[in-house]
Each structure stands twice: as C-alpha cells, then as structure tokens.
C-alpha cells in the first residue's frame, strides 16, 4: 500500500507541474484577437476560466497515463497487474465533484449570457441586411445615410443590430466583438454590441450561404462620437434622384443591389464578368454563339440571369433581381414620386466605365 502512496505522491506533484506547463503552452497557442467590445470583457474572462480547466484536466489524465506507461511496464517474471476491480467511493467522488463544477460553470455562464444580451439604456438601432454575397447597413435614426456598405459605429455607444435577409441564412461575426448571430429568412434577429475600441474591423459572414460565402465581408469602422456625427452630417439626405444623372443613379443602385460583389469596374475577374468596357464587347456564350453586349443584353441578363450565360462563368447570379428591382422602383415611386427605371440607370453607369 505504501508503494501505491509513493506513486500517488509523485504523480500529484507531476500533475501540478504538468498543469502549469500545459496552461502556459495552451495560452501560447490559443490566442484571441484584440477585445474591442464591452461584451468581450466577461466573455474573455470565461475563456480564461475554460482554458484553465482544460489545462488542469488535461494534465491530470495525461500525467497519470504517461507515468503509468513509464512505471508500470511488463517485465519477465513480473507479468500480472495488481488485482483491484472497483472502488465505489472513488467512483462517487469523481462523479459528484465534476457534477458540482459543471453546474457552477453553467449557472455562472447563464448570468453572463443575460448580462451581455440584455437591453442597454440609450441603445441605438442599426439595420443589417445580408444577402448573397454582401452586407448593407442602414440607420433608422439617420435616414439620410440611406444604404451604406460599411458599418460605421460610434465608440462606447450600445448598439442593437436588427438583422434580416431575403434569401438564405447568413451570420454576423466580428471576432474582435466576440458575439455572433445568424440572419434568418422570415425573421428579424437581434444582436447587442457595445464597441469600446476605436479601429477598423471586418464583419465576415459565418454561415455557409452559397458560392461566395467566403467573400461576404464588409468594413466595420468604430470611430469617436465626433467623427460619427461628422460622418452622418456628411451623408446627403434622401437621394435627389431628379437632380442626379442616370449614371449617378446607376452608381447608387450598384451599392443597393450588391452588383459589385461579383462584377468589378476595374477589369478584375470576379464571379461575374467585369463591367469595364462592357458595352460593345463581344462575349462568347456557353451555347457557343457570340453576342455584342448592348443595353438589351444587360437588361435581359439582370431579369433572367440564366439566359445567354457568358462562357467561363457559373450560373450563380441571384435570380430574384427582377422582383427586388420592381419592389424598389415601386417604393421610390411612392416615397419620392419619381418614375424610376433602375436598369436603364445601371446601363447608363456601365456606359461610363470605358477606357
């Protein structure tokens, strides 16, 4: 029995040493990005607790195993292991103690979850619209922003994101803010964040949403209150559509509809053909024929993307632009009494993209 006690004392010492070594190795490998939100405070604290548990429990089992592998080997003449089958007290101890620990961890985490999701006084709403494969943000308190492709937020301001999508599941994630929330078709989901570190970050879609899921990224700028107010006041009010040229309107529709996530304006090849020098360009189609791109072709391609597909590109263009364009045209007709032909504006804009 005292031989066993000697072994156990050695192992206990090794477990403590092993736990400390494992913890430091773990923290060297597992690094979190900079914390940039108020929510990150408690969440990173929970990460610390969890990493400590992982290090200790890992050392506990592995040290015992390695010690056994070294010390309890079969030798000629010493071939039978010790003869014990069970130990009920030990079984109860190593069932009850972990049970208490996980219950405590769960209760602690439940309170933390309540804290990071509860409404904050003075919170500002921001609308997030996700679609295959770009983000668009709007500010109900500041309609003059219209649709923005960057999320600009004032530091230390509690934000409630109200998120929606018209196509498939997406997910909003800025690693520096820690928290994440899916966008669900047919629902408005909410996410509360209080950014507390000025800087430039990225929001990247975190739920597989089709072909270009990897590239569904937008800029997130956390700026001072003064800079935010300046940005708001720099935004032009409700679009003066009648004062804008067709090409200028077209450029605005590009932002709203997300054409730029697949079609570049500088010649770069994306998921779709570049718009640079598009008008008058000869394109080979998948059916072997060749066409010269004109306004007619562009209109047809937007309303029925699968028809007359350019060779070398997948049939991945979103198919509901006809509905979205009709809806937006109807909305603008109502809000601003302006008869709009978005596709004609887009064609006018594309015509300016010639060198």
């Amino acid at each position: 029995m005292s031989r066993n006690v000697k072994h156990l004392v050695s192992v206990a010492v090794l477990v403590i040493v092993g736990a400390i070594v494992t913890y430091f190795l773990l923290r060297a490998i597992y690094i979190l990005p900079v914390a940039a939100s108020a929510e990150a405070g408690p969440i990173d604290q929970l990460f610390d607790i969890q990493f400590a548990f992982i290090a200790f429990l890992f050392a506990l089992i592995v040290v015992f195993m390695l010690y056994s592998v070294v010390m309890f080997r079969r030798k000629p003449g010493d071939e039978q292991g010790a003869d014990f089958h069970s130990h009920t007290v030990l079984e109860i101890v190593w069932t009850v103690i972990p049970l208490i620990i996980v219950i405590a961890l769960g209760i602690f985490s439940a309170f933390m979850l309540a804290e990071i999701t509860e409404a904050n006084p003075g919170e500002m709403d921001v609308h997030v619209q996700g679609r295959q494969w770009s983000w668009v943000f709007s500010y109900p308190d500041h309609e003059e922003v219209g649709f923005s492709t960057s999320l600009v937020l004032p530091v230390d301001q509690p934000i409630r994101l109200l998120m929606s999508t018209d196509d498939v599941l997406h997910s909003f994630w800025v690693p520096e803010f820690r928290v994440k929330q899916d966008l669900v078709p047919g629902q408005i989901t909410e996410l509360r964040i209080t950014p507390d570190l000025e800087g430039s970050y990225k929001v990247r879609c975190a739920e597989i949403c089709g072909l270009d899921h990897a590239r569904m990224v937008a800029n997130v700028e956390v700026v001072s209150r003064a800079e935010f107010d300046q940005w708001i006041s720099d935004q032009t009010p409700l679009l003066p559509l009648d004062e804008m040229s067709a090409a200028e309107r077209g450029q605005q529709w590009v932002v709203e509809l997300g054409c730029n996530s697949c079609h570049s304006v500088d010649g770069a090849v994306g998921a779709g053909p570049t718009w640079l020098n598009l008008i008058g360009r000869n394109e080979d189609l998948v059916d072997g024929s060749t066409i010269t791109v004109d306004g007619e072709y562009i209109r047809k391609s937007i309303l029925n993307p699968s028809f007359q597909l350019v060779d070398g590109f997948a049939d991945s263009m979103v198919k509901d632009y006809d509905e979205r364009i009709a809806a937006r045209e109807a909305e603008i007709a109502e809000r601003q009494s302006f008869e709009l032909d978005m596709i004609a504006d887009l064609i006018a804009y594309i015509e300016t993209l010639a060198e």
Binding site: Q80, P98, A214
Partner: protein
Amino acid sequence: MVTFFSLGLVRGIIGQFIGFAIGFGLVAVARSAQGLEKNPDLAVLVGAIFGLFGFLLAAGVFTDWLKWIRGVETPLRHGPPKYRPAWTRYFSVDNNHKVIGIQYTVTAVLVLLLGGALALIFRLELSYPGMQFLSANQYNSLFSAHGIIMIVSILMGVGGMVNYLVPLLIGAQDMAFPRLNAFSFWVAIPAAVLLVAGLVIGGWDTGWVAYPTLSTTTPELGVQLFLLGFWIVGFSSIAGSLNVIVTVAKMRAPGMGLFKMPIFVWGAIAASLIQLTATQTVGLALLMVVMERALGLGFFGPGALGATLYQGGGDPLLYQHLFWFYSHPVVYVFVLPGLGVISELLPVFARKPLFGYKWIALSSIAIALVGFLVWAHHMFVSGMDNSLRVPFMMATLLVAIPTGVKFFSWVATIWDGRMVFPAPMLFTLGAISVFLLGGLTGPILATVPTDLMLHDSYWIVGHFHATMFGGFVFPFFAALYYWFPKMSGRMYNETLAKWHFWLMLPAFWIMSLGQMRIGLLGMRRRIADYDPALGIETTQMLITFAGLVIGWSVLIMTYNLISSARSGVRAGANPWHSRSPEWQIPSPAPEMNYERPPVVVGDPYDYGHPDTEYVSITPASAGD
C-alpha cells in the same frame, strides 16, 4: 468475366443504373407529355428510389424474402458459395456476420481514403490565401462531400466492428436476423453511389448539414442526390441496430448476465439504441427538403405572416431542430463503440481487471440518454431565445460527467498494471489522449457566451475532428490490428503498424491544435479562402502538412493489412492471451463460431488471476 457478373455488387450497381434511368425517364416523359416544365429534382427523387430497389433486387438482397412471400422455404445458406471462388462471397449477399462485418470494414476503409483524399485536395488549396487551383464552387462541393463521406465511413466502421464482434463476444453463432444483417450492409452501397454521383455532376455548396433556405433554393442538382443518398443510409442504421439489440437480448451464452458481457457489447448496445430511435428524425428532415425542392411544399420557406404551408409559410429553424435531434445523438453512435474498444483492450495489455465495469457499462447508456437532450447547442446563434439556450447549455455540460467516468476508469485500469505496447495498445492509448483533447474542448462550446465567439469557426472543426479521431478513428485502427489475426488467421506487420502510429499521432495533435488556434483568431469554417490579414498562413500550412502525414500513415496501414492478409505470419488462436471467448477458438474464426455455446464460468476481466477462466469452451473433438 462470368465470375465478375455473378458478383452481387456488380449486379447491384447495374440494377441501380437501370432503375435510376427508368425512374428518371418516367418523370421526364410524363412531364413533357403534359407540357410541364422540366423538374430535375422530382426526376432524381423518383430515379433514386427506383435505383435503390433496382440495386437491392439485382444484388439478391431480397431473394429469400421474395421466395417466402411465394411460400418457398429457403434454409439459411452457410459457407462459401458453391461453384464460385470463395472470395466472391465478400462481393455478394452473404449471411454470415463475420463476412458482413468484413464487408462493412473494407468499405469503411475505402470510403475513409476517398473522404481523406477530398480533404487533402481542399486543404492544399487552403494552405495559402487566394484561390490557387480550385474554384469556389469546387471547394464548396469538396468540403460538403468530405463531411458526409466521412460520416458514412464512420457508420460503416461502426457497423463493421459491431457486426463482426458482437456475436463472437456473446458466444452466439450469428446475429438474430442474418438476412436483415445483409440488407443493412448492402443498402448503404446505392446510397454511397448517389453521394458520389452528386459530387460528379457538379457538387453542392450547403455543407453536409444542408440548411434551408440555401438547400431548398440552390439550383445545384447535386444537393438532391446528396439528400437522397444520406436518407438511404439511415435504413442501414435502423435495420442494423434493431438486429444488434435483439441479438444481445436473446442470444447470449449461458451464464452471461448483462454485467458479465464483454464491455464492448455495452458500447454497441448504447449506440444501437440511439440509431434505432433517432435516425427517423433526420430522415424526415431530409425528405422534407427533398419534397420542398421537388414539389414546392413550403416546410421551410418563410412566407408572409399568415401564409399556409402551401404558400411557403414555413420556418428554416424547424429543419435545424429536426436535423440536430438526430445529428447530435449520432456523434455518440460514432464514439461509443470505439470507447468500448478502449475499455476492451486496456485490461488485456495491462493484465489487470477493467476498473469499475458496472460504472463504465452504465456510463455508455447515460451518454446515450443525455445525448438526446442537447441538440440545440448546435443552434445557439440561430435566433433561439435565451430561455432555450440556457437549458441546452446545462444539459450539454452534463454529458461531461459520464464521459469523465470513462477517463478516470481507464486511468485506474492501467494504474499498477503490467503493460506491453504492440500497435493495438498504442492506438488505444493514443485514442485516449486525442479523445481527451476533443472532450475538453467541448465545455467551452457548451457555455453560450464563449460559443458566440466559436460557433462556425475552425475551433469547431478542431473539436469534432479530435472527438471523431479519438472516439472512432484511433480505436477503429486499434480494433483492426487487434482482431486482424482472428479475421484473417495471420499477423499484421508490427513495424509498419508502429510507423503508422508514430506518424499519425503527432501529426494529428499538430492538426487539431492548429485548427483550434486559427478558429480563435477569426478563421471561419466552410470558406474557400481567407483574409491574409488574419496572419494565420503558417498555421494553415502546418495543418495541411499534418493532414498529408496522416494520409500517408493510413496508406501504410492499408498496405500492411492487405499484404499481411496474403502472406503474413500465421497467427494462433490467442496471440494476445485474452480471456474473451473469441480468442478461445481457432484463427481465422470458424464459419459457425462455436461448436457449442461457451459457458460463462468466471469474470471477464480477472487478469490478476491467471488460473481462472471467463468462459469454458467445449473442445471441438469432444464426442457428440
């Protein structure tokens, strides 16, 4: 050539192609005759069903049952087929559980190699930022296929271990329903054909989880083939698990009470209880997506407020609940048999009793039961209210308790043992270390605040690969090496097996830690490319390199097992000096296993008392 076309596998595949063509053609012709527009999703659905029946009929799976319907008696065939070479039985419908077990196992290894190759292709692409040689569509299809193909491989491997071992371990001659057992294996083959077909015709980009509304609206036909292939595999699980439960309930040797069975059987039972009861839910979910695609039903498509089912008044989250209600418990199906292998092998190589047999046995059942209560932890960021998130968090944390009981019991089993370290023991100990890593990285996902950061990141990829490798892959390899002599009558090459282990274990550790590291730094999962600004290129390269090393090590094993089966040193009945019944009969195991049922005369794991026996086998030469 005649032999080739006599093989059930060959006939089955021909039958599947013919059936698919008929079904697909019927829909195409019927619709065009009515002037309706093309509906490839519907045609694939009907084609897949016809193809399934075509396969099963042509392979001969239904032959005996169809004869019974006509009133013809069919005694159970034993032994190799007459008038054909003996090896053909492995490619045709055979009723012997050992043959079926080997069919499952070989299929598992082949599918594992295929799934691994797919992963290595997209991991090579992911080593550097930017798209080097894959398109986004190809990348998305490769990871989607990798997921389901690996799952099929694991289910086949579990089927192989359970079917080969359970009758031998309980002293039975075969499973309770040998023909149903053959069905359980063969039904998975047309399913695998559909999955590969889905990849070949252009793939799908939804991952293996196929969430609506992406899965219901994506134009890629590959997703329909994938859904139907996945759906069909479910029948293998349901039929197979039913067989296991009845076999263990009714066919144990005299004196073998439930707590006197080899411990692996408890793992097999727990896994079977899950498969029998949960598989139906995912079958439902998959079929609902198939129908929504083929017939426009509105299960998951959100509609305007007040819309009815047919107007698309559905909810995408309904799918996630139905899907995960099965897909969480199934991960315990994946690991419970492997954990049973660990418990089975440690006493043999430590020459010590298994510590706390009853607690270990019941912990498998406890894991299976609690495993049914945690599914929505996959949905913490889906839009669920906190009032749901918290209970699922608590239930998920509870799974750690019976799992911990196993770890502590394994440590106590080897403590003060007398260990030797041939390949099966190395893989068993390696399995424990890897499953420990996987298990310990679970609670951080269970607590919702940290999961908000980690969900859909590469941390998850690291966590589930560690649990799958620790709970299935390493123990499966341990079991392959350990029972190889009993299956083939020859020993594998120990040196090659050690190369396999010492390459695979460190590589896997590097891969896992690397995956979790980049997840914490912001690397998402299921993405074809990543931002160089994340600063993770070196780790990405390491992960890919580690994956390549793992692949090579598995190829070494494959070569080892094939060449040893042909020309390895002949093995005796009991090279491991195990007390278990299957080692008291010759190697390879005889056709009918035991001449007479073995009688239980002692404790299964009393290795401390070399003078005692667990079972008493009547010698074959004793007078009848």
